[in-house]
């Protein structure tokens, strides 16, 4: 089942693509992941500054906003249930929909393959640090999305869109840093374009192909020929193009409906792996905790494990990168803080729940230590295989669907970035989408290392301008969030059901019938006639 080695006759198209692409990827990776050697701790330990940058931001906002993500949790759930939605806004984008859209963009291969990479390279302890990074990332995400809604843009024709480019340019202008804001916004857009073709596209295509190839019999199966990656990529590119260029919404709609089910199914599948090995669970948990703090390599190893965990968590939940702010901004609300609350759930679902599930399945079955397969989706697949032969096939379907929905989401982020840079026009729109489709093919043809390097670098670069902006706007966010919490606490904001004249909430059939049943209904006039 080893698919990472290409078959001998294949000095082929796939390899040619890879030969061109790998050096470019290596060059960029080298710059972005500039790491400080920590020789004084242990030989060979390095600390990539970009990871420090993300973690410090999360920790800073968690402290500055007094653990907002934990206090926000309960209210966030009420918000997505629609308890605070104005009935007159029925038909607009609800908190639930904004969150669901963002989650389907985030839950991707980072949750399946990325976790496997982290544990293969960092050991089981990486899981612990991944969860910590997820909890901290919840706060960053809340901050981004509050700003995303506050500074979003309403076009003359009624479209609503937002994102870091708008809060960087508008928000910083309000702070008297207009020029800096513009520069950061432009930088953010450039990096978003890179992130969209990297992590949002090539990484997804690459891993979707890897899994498809592996379930069809590996290098000897019918997806084992030399240009198989390119062919697979081409088919995927056509499917992506059909939706984003051809406007065939029905395909996107089908995946949108399938992805939530696949996510639930994926979690169930992980749980069944855990259940099949339930006697091992205490051991696995202990192993995760133990290796999180004291791996065999000593303190230097701890730093290495921590970095792996944090890096994959950030790649998976995208907190601090700014991408989610684009997805969340279309929500219908007058209070930016509401979306800030709802957004904290996103890293929770993505990292604390789904990534942890993957991690436990991998650690319990021990597939992470298996040298035979390349770290990535195959590691997870091998873990699933321990329960049932056909599980990897289901996983392959899940992987392809996750990859597909993530690609659609990132094509949109990239589109927003390119129209911000080059203006709104059909030409910009079509050019971007075409480039995006070409990269699907490149991604499916390259090796994982080249793709992961490039994807990571571009996606992490987005955090540079974004987080600078978050720091400058931190007081704005605090005012929004804390002001909202205060009004909430003093009863200035009530759930719809408790407001004066009670127009019954839309949705929720029980809510619609209570209140009337309790009072005596007026006798219908027909009674008198009879």
């Amino acid at each position: 089942m080893n698919t990472s080695l290409s078959s001998p006759q294949a000095a082929t198209f796939d390899e040619q693509v890879n030969d061109v692409f790998a050096p470019i990827s290596d060059f960029i990776t080298g710059i972005v992941f500039y790491a400080v050697p920590l020789g004084f701790i242990d030989e060979g330990v390095e600390l990539p500054l970009i990871v420090v940058w993300l973690v410090i931001a999360g920790v800073f906002f968690t402290i500055y906003l007094k653990g907002f993500q934990f206090r926000a949790f309960g209210h966030a759930i009420q918000l997505i249930k629609g308890k605070y939605d104005d009935p007159n806004d029925a038909g607009e984008v609800t908190h639930f929909q904004a969150l669901a859209t963002a989650v389907s963009g985030t839950v991707g291969l980072g949750n399946i393959a990325g976790v496997a990479v982290a544990i293969s390279l960092g050991g089981p302890g990486a899981t612990f640090w991944m969860i910590i990074a997820g909890l901290v990332g919840m706060c960053t995400k809340g901050v981004e999305c509050t700003l995303g809604v506050k500074y979003r843009r309403v076009y003359p024709d009624g479209r609503v869109s937002g994102g870091p480019m708008y809060y960087l340019s508008q928000g910083l202008k309000e702070k008297g840093k207009g020029t800096l804001g513009k520069v950061l916004a432009v930088l953010f857009c450039i990096f978003t374009l890179g992130g969209a073709v990297g992590g949002g596209n090539m990484f997804q295509a690459n891993q979707a192909f890897a899994q498809a190839q592996s379930v069809t019999g590996g290098a000897d199966g019918w997806l084992g020929f030399g240009a198989a990656g390119a062919v697979f990529g081409l088919v995927l590119a056509i499917l992506v193009g059909a939706v984003i260029i051809g406007g065939i919404r029905s395909i996107a709609r089908v995946t949108d409906k399938l992805v939530p089910f696949m996510a639930v199914f994926y979690v169930i599948a992980c749980l069944s792996v855990l259940f099949a090995n339930f006697t091992e669970i205490p051991n696995a948990l202990w192993e995760i905790l133990r290796t999180a703090f004291s791996p065999e390599a000593g303190f230097g190893g701890v730093v290495g494990v921590l970095i792996q965990g944090f890096r994959r968590a950030a790649f998976s939940n995208e907190a601090g990168l700014g991408s989610a702010a684009i997805a969340h901004s279309a929500v219908k609300t007058n209070e930016p803080a509401t979306e800030g609350h709802v957004a904290v759930l996103e890293p929770f679902i993505d990292t604390v729940v789904i990534c942890t599930m993957t991690a436990l399945a991998i650690v319990i079955t021990g597939t992470w230590a298996d040298e035979a397969s390349a770290p990535g989706v195959e590691t997870t697949s091998a873990a699933f295989e321990t329960v049932a032969d056909w599980f990897p096939i289901v996983l392959a379907i899940a992987v392809i669907l996750f990859a597909y929905s993530t690609m659609l989401a990132w094509s949109y982020y990239g589109l927003k970035a390119s129209t911000y840079l080059f203006g709104e026009s059909m030409f910009v729109d079509r050019t971007w989408k075409l480039i995006f489709c070409i990269f699907v093919v490149i991604g499916a043809s390259s090796t994982l290392d080249a793709v992961i390097g490039f994807s990571d670098s571009m996606i992490f670069l987005m955090s540079l301008p974004n987080i600078i902006g978050l720091y400058i706007l931190s007081r704005v966010v605090k005012r929004e969030l804390f002001g909202y919490r205060e009004r909430l606490a003093h009863g200035a904001l009530l759930p719809v059901a408790e407001r004066g004249i009670t127009p019954s909430p839309t949705g929720g059939s029980t809510a619609a019938t209570t209140g009337v049943d309790g009072t005596t209904p007026n006798p219908p006039p027909s009674v008198e006639d009879r």
């Binding site: 963009g105 479209r159 609503v160 949705g507 019938t513 006039p525």
Partner: protein
């Protein structure tokens, strides 16, 4: 004393007959007639980011189309005689639930709907508006064949 009759309209022939029956009842009991067209919509459906961006426009477009295609002709037809107060309302939401909450707001005596909506397949799969109305409504429901 109740003030109005709610009619659920979806542009089908049956819903047209429902409107006629409602007009008769409204004349006899001197009630206002509220014609309601509900655009099926769920706050918990899944959508793409691009759809979300355009949602406000799409909502307007759907409401406008419902008004022009379904409501306006019916309102014009029923108020032609000049002896009825007829108004049209467009809402987004779950059809039966929305009709029920509208009935509450308008202090309605009855909700009147046509029996067959526009799509039999949908009815088979998801149940019909009349049958969920019967489950939900706190006031009498009249289903017109």
């Amino acid at each position: 004393m109740s003030a109005s009759i709610i009619v659920g309209l979806d542009g089908s022939e049956a819903s047209g007959r429902a409107a006629d029956a409602a007009a008769d009842a409204a004349r006899r009991h001197d009630l206002r007639l509220v014609l309601a067209c509900v655009v099926p919509w769920s706050p918990y459906s899944f959508s793409t980011a691009e759809e979300n961006e355009r949602r406000t426009i799409d909502k307007e477009r759907e409401a406008k189309s419902a008004r022009e295609r379904v409501l306006d002709p019916a309102v014009a037809r029923l108020s032609a005689a000049g002896d009825l107060t007829v108004e049209g309302v467009v809402r987004h939401g779950h059809p039966a639930e929305t009709l029920v909450s509208l009935a509450r707001e308008e202090d309605a005596a009855w909700i009147i709907v046509g029996r067959v909506g526009q799509s039999r397949v949908r009815t088979l799969l998801f149940g019909s508006t009349p049958s969920s109305l019967i489950q939900l409504s706190p006031i009498p429901v009249l289903v017109v064949p």
